[in-house]
């Protein structure tokens, strides 16, 4: 048996153990319970009343069941339980890529891409097309059909976004593709304009102002603050050295070269800090997935004390 087969035997054995343990347990791991909440319970018009299901702790379900076995406020949710199992299996599918590329990873990858695209499309329709375009052009129809809370008057100015949107769709036409360049130019122009002002104000001018700081820092009692002064000095010298490194009009020789070398050190320290933060972020993401697998799915741990007494 080669190493590859051993790996799969171990993995399948683990899977059988997990499933066996799940089916033999008194409570099925990964189960999700919900609490039924009546919305508008006091409203005399029954048409405005409905039941909303909120996630509930398993311990609350057990407690309610012990007090009254016929209660219906806390319930087992099959759909949400399936959701937890699907999420867990897809997490494992994605993790499996760390060993090697395989069909399970491909399935998970394709589903993520497909679901994301569909989600974006639906969200864009309901948050952009309906309220921002149709809601401005035919507000009464939209109010009756989809958004009862909409209070808007017809704004004919929005006919232009509609025309630009249709022009953009011409990209799909084999002969009229050039028409989409006009709205695209508009999008690029406005985006560039908005971003330019933001960067000039917040990143260029404000950053210059932020670098102009006193080297001699005094504390609240007026005495010399050594650490405050050192901090200001490092910031000012670091900025200057970094700028000199990117100043290519003068050859980096002599004292210019030495300062530029200092600039490289500043950059390297910055990259190191960025790397450190990135590592921290990635470990946090791994930790939450493993916590999900052990807590919400397999019920091995219970840090949130959600299943006390089970």
């Amino acid at each position: 048996m080669n190493r590859h087969n051993i790996f799969w035997v171990i993995l399948i054995s683990l899977g059988v153990l997990i499933l066996g343990n799940a089916f033999l347990s008194e409570y099925f791991p990964g189960s999700v319970y919900v609490k039924a909440v009546e919305v508008n319970a006091d409203d005399p018009d029954h048409a405005n009343q409905w039941t909303k299901y909120r996630n509930a702790n398993p311990r609350d379900y057990i407690k309610a069941e012990a007090e009254d076995p016929n209660q219906v406020v806390y319930q087992f949710s099959l759909s949400r339980t399936i959701g937890v199992w699907v999420a867990a299996l897809f997490t494992l599918f994605i993790f499996s890529f760390l060993y090697r590329d395989n069909p399970f990873y491909k399935i998970a990858e394709a589903v993520v891409v497909g679901v994301s695209a569909a989600y974006w499309m639906v969200v864009a329709f309901w948050t952009t097309i309906v309220p921002n375009l149709l809601g401005k052009l035919i507000p009464n129809t939209i109010k009756e059909w989809a958004m009862p809370g909409l209070e808007a008057e017809v704004e004919f100015l929005y006919i232009f976004p509609l025309i630009l949107g249709i022009m953009l769709l011409m990209r799909l036409s084999p002969k009229g593709g050039w028409i989409s360049r006009w709205p695209l130019a508009f999008i690029i122009g406005t985006t560039a304009g908005i971003r330019l002002t933001g960067f000039i104000h917040a990143d260029f001018l404000s950053q210059i102002r932020n670098t102009i700081m006193p080297i001699w820092v005094a504390d609240s009692s007026g005495m010399f603050d050594f650490w405050g002064s050192l901090r200001s000095l490092i910031i000012v010298l670091g900025v200057l050295a970094g700028i000199v490194y990117f100043f290519f009009s003068i050859e980096h020789k002599g004292w210019v070269g030495k300062i530029a070398r200092g600039g490289i050190w500043v950059l390297m320290i910055t990259f190191g800090a960025a790397f450190g933060y990135t590592v921290m972020g990635r470990i946090a993401l791994l930790a939450i997935r493993l916590e999900f697998l052990m807590d919400d799915w397999l019920w091995i741990i219970d840090p949130g004390l959600k299943r006390l007494g089970m």
Binding site: V123, G198, A202, V279, R282, L286, E291, M294, I300
Partner: protein
């Protein structure tokens, strides 16, 4: 030994990293232990910015993240909401990410519905939901919120929501607290909200580790407080719980500090890997030079 490390299959490193994260999670999950946190100046500034507000002051909680970054940002979003509830502030939720409203709903359910059931939707908190347009949204609502927000997330007309009466633009908020996973996020809030209106808009943020180094240049003038990744979340969480958590805080408010356990072990492992990799690199270079 050098040869062993230079030819080591990277999957062994993946396995060791997996163990270095899962073992602390298991131990902490079983024992409930958390690590003590010493808050940094930035975490204290963030805490003070909210703590100095008065009862009834409006605060805008902008949740610009999605489930992919929930592990890093979820705990700080929870702490922000808890802190605002404890201070009895009027909370306005907003999202520039399409999945943001779900993050907001989770937070409302986890904190407000569970522990502050007396808070009334529309009077004490409101979810304005997601608006597409990235920084364009900020650019508009910084002067006229009603231009884009005609209804809340549920479709209720803005004019029918009592707590929206005094809000015409985001300049009317006493504080904006942003939880950011990328673009659009804290950077855009700095560029289009706090920088153009330094006297009227005060902004604090919490961000992923990848973003944090890019946001440090804005401190302290444009961004007085910043929670960098899970470490910043843990520090802020400690400050909130120490003051408002009571003697036996709910474990759901200790998430960030629990997650510092795997961070510690995994970081030690990474440091060891970096040292070994450098030794291997320089040894091989020396060997090559000798040949």
């Amino acid at each position: 030994m050098i040869q062993f490390f230079s030819k080591l299959d990277k999957r062994w490193i993946f396995l060791l990293m997996f163990l270095s994260v899962i073992i602390p999670i298991y131990i902490i999950g079983k024992t409930g232990l958390t690590f003590p946190e010493v808050p940094s100046v930035l975490a204290e500034n963030t805490f003070n910015a909210i703590d100095e507000l008065n009862e009834g002051d409006p605060i805008l909680l902008a949740f610009d993240f999605d489930p992919a970054s929930e592990g890093e940002l979820g705990p700080m979003a929870t702490s922000f909401t808890l802190h605002a509830c404890k201070k009895k502030l009027k909370i306005y939720f907003i999202a520039l990410w399409p999945v943001g409203p779900q993050m907001i709903d989770d937070n409302i359910e986890k904190v407000i519905m569970a522990d502050f059931p007396h808070m009334v939707y529309g009077k004490d908190f409101v979810n304005l939901g997601f608006k597409p347009g990235n920084e364009g949204v900020i650019k508009v609502i910084v002067t006229d919120l009603r231009e884009l927000y005609t209804t809340d997330d549920k479709g209720t007309a803005i004019n029918d929501i009592p707590m929206m009466e005094s809000i015409n633009s985001i300049q009317d908020f006493e504080l904006i607290a942003n939880v950011s996973a990328g673009y659009p996020g804290t950077k855009e809030w700095v560029q289009y909200a706090s920088t153009p209106y330094p006297d009227k808009i005060k902004l604090v943020g919490g961000c992923t580790g990848v973003q944090a180094p890019l946001l440090y240049p804005y401190i302290p003038d444009q961004l007085p407080g910043l929670l960098g990744a899970i470490k910043g979340a843990a520090e802020y969480e400690a400050l909130v719980i120490n003051k408002y958590g009571g003697e036996d805080p709910d474990p759901k408010y200790l998430e960030a500090r629990r997650r510092m356990g795997p961070q510690l072990v995994a970081h030690i492992f990474i440091i060891i890997l970096i040292i070994i990799a450098n030794i291997v690199y320089f040894s091989e270079r020396r060997e090559a030079a000798r040949k």
